[in-house]
């Protein structure tokens, strides 16, 4: 059995999960608000950019699919948190990626 990953390893994996529309990761968008691993269950807290986000189901699927590929993760629990999100939550790298896509 592989050891369970650390929260930082979860974050590293989520840095590879892109927003369904633009080529920017969920981490760089500032959507990842909490990470923990307990008994082979990865727990993720995610905020969405808006209540009317059209991509919540796709994002949840992508997060689950990616984290289940990590050794030591057997279950993924995603909690949607209704925290404020604004463009100031986007990392400089995320802003640069959005600018290249013509949307920042």
């Amino acid at each position: 059995m592989s050891a369970a990953p650390t929260p930082e390893e979860l974050r590293g994996a989520l840095a590879e999960v892109l927003d369904p529309e633009y080529p920017v990761s969920l981490v760089d968008l500032g959507l990842v608000r909490g990470l923990a691993v307990e008994a082979r269950t990865a727990r993720v807290q995610i905020a969405f950019c808006s209540l009317g986000c059209p991509c919540t189901e796709l994002i949840r699927e992508d997060v689950e699919e990616r984290l289940l590929r990590l050794p030591g993760v057997e279950r993924v629990e995603i909690e949607e948190v209704f925290e404020r999100w604004s463009r100031t939550d986007i990392t400089p790298r995320g802003l640069a990626a959005l600018r290249r896509a013509g949307v920042a």
């Binding site: 369904p20 529309e21 080529p23 009317g52 059209p54 991509c55 796709l58 896509a101 013509g102 949307v103």
Partner: protein, 309 residues
């Protein structure tokens, strides 16, 4: 600038940035292409909104509304460029007769179920993606090329939404036949979308001036090259297959065909018809043309009436 100077500029790989770099014929071709693009994006809004009422969950409804918002943004890009070229876009969008809109006939056939909604995302948005992707890669018009970076990304999401739902519905024995029924009429409808085959096509300035890169038949092939394998991968039948010898997709039924709008059925039994009959049907427009255009123009009409009162 005359055509020869312009063609030399394009040959050098320099983009056209405005009317000062273009000829009359180029501008006419560009405007015609932009009107088709803007109209197509715009009409998808009422078409998809009507279909969204069949969404199985609130989140699915929100996804379609998000897609509609994107499409309106894309329409705005095309109309905004027309306005910059001196076109009266208020008259174009809000005062034009429904029959004079230039979007594909496919959008005149109303989408009446969630099955048809997601196949529209899987097929029609794929057609948009193919057409606009070609323009993005090949257009000689600089402002459009730059604007399409974002459009390309957003259409990817629409396509994924369609494929995700088609895959889910295809796995359920109760839903699969209804999905297949939607595919049966919408697949051929999308083949038709790409227009006249190359040996009958006019408007050669579109290719000659580098407004787009691929011909109608090439674009139809490009669409089939992803649509057909996708449908095969989820166990949905489509009337086309890859000919391994030539590497090209072959349509397995007579094409083009006459369409029964009431039954949403292609009249296979009547065999292939001439493109002149297809063009005549497009010109007549289909069942939802007036309703959708009226919906788009209603707010403007109300506003004008209010201002006049």
């Amino acid at each position: 600038m005359d055509d020869a100077e312009l063609l030399e500029r394009i040959r050098q790989g320099r983009l056209v940035e405005g009317p000062e770099h273009a000829s009359e014929r180029y501008l006419e071709g560009l405007k015609r292409t932009l009107v088709v693009s803007g109209d197509t994006e715009l009409i998808s809004a009422p078409a998809y909104l009507r279909a969204a009422q069949h969404a199985p969950r609130m989140q699915s409804y929100i996804s379609v509304v998000g897609i509609i918002q994107d499409e309106l943004g894309h329409a705005h890009i095309a109309y905004r460029m027309l306005r910059d070229l001196g076109v009266d876009t208020d008259a174009l969008v809000y005062e034009r007769e429904p029959k004079d809109f230039r979007y594909p006939y496919a959008f005149d056939v109303p989408l009446d179920s969630w099955y048809e909604m997601v196949v529209a995302n899987g097929f029609y948005d794929r057609a948009g993606f193919v057409l606009l992707g070609d323009i993005y890669r090949h257009t000689s018009y600089g402002p459009w090329k730059r604007a399409l970076v974002k459009v390309d990304r957003e259409e990817t999401f629409h396509l994924r939404h369609g494929e995700r739902w088609m895959r889910t519905l295809a796995q359920d024995p109760e839903h699969k036949p209804k999905l297949q029924a939607a595919v049966d009429w919408m697949f051929v409808m999308t083949l038709e979308w790409f227009g006249l085959p190359d040996d009958l096509k006019r408007h050669t300035e579109q290719l000659g001036f580098g407004l787009k890169g691929m011909s109608n038949d090439e674009l139809r092939q490009e669409w089939m090259s992803t649509a057909v394998p996708f449908c095969e991968s989820i166990g949905i039948d489509v009337p086309a297959h890859l000919d391994e010898a030539t590497g090209r997709y072959v349509i397995d039924i007579p094409f083009p065909l006459e369409f029964d709008e009431g039954e949403k059925r292609w009249l296979l039994e009547e065999g292939a018809i001439g493109w002149d009959r297809v063009l005549a049907r497009w010109k007549r427009r289909g069942p939802a043309n007036e309703e959708f255009v009226a919906q788009l123009q209603a707010g403007y009409r109300d506003l004008q009436a209010g201002l006049a009162a």
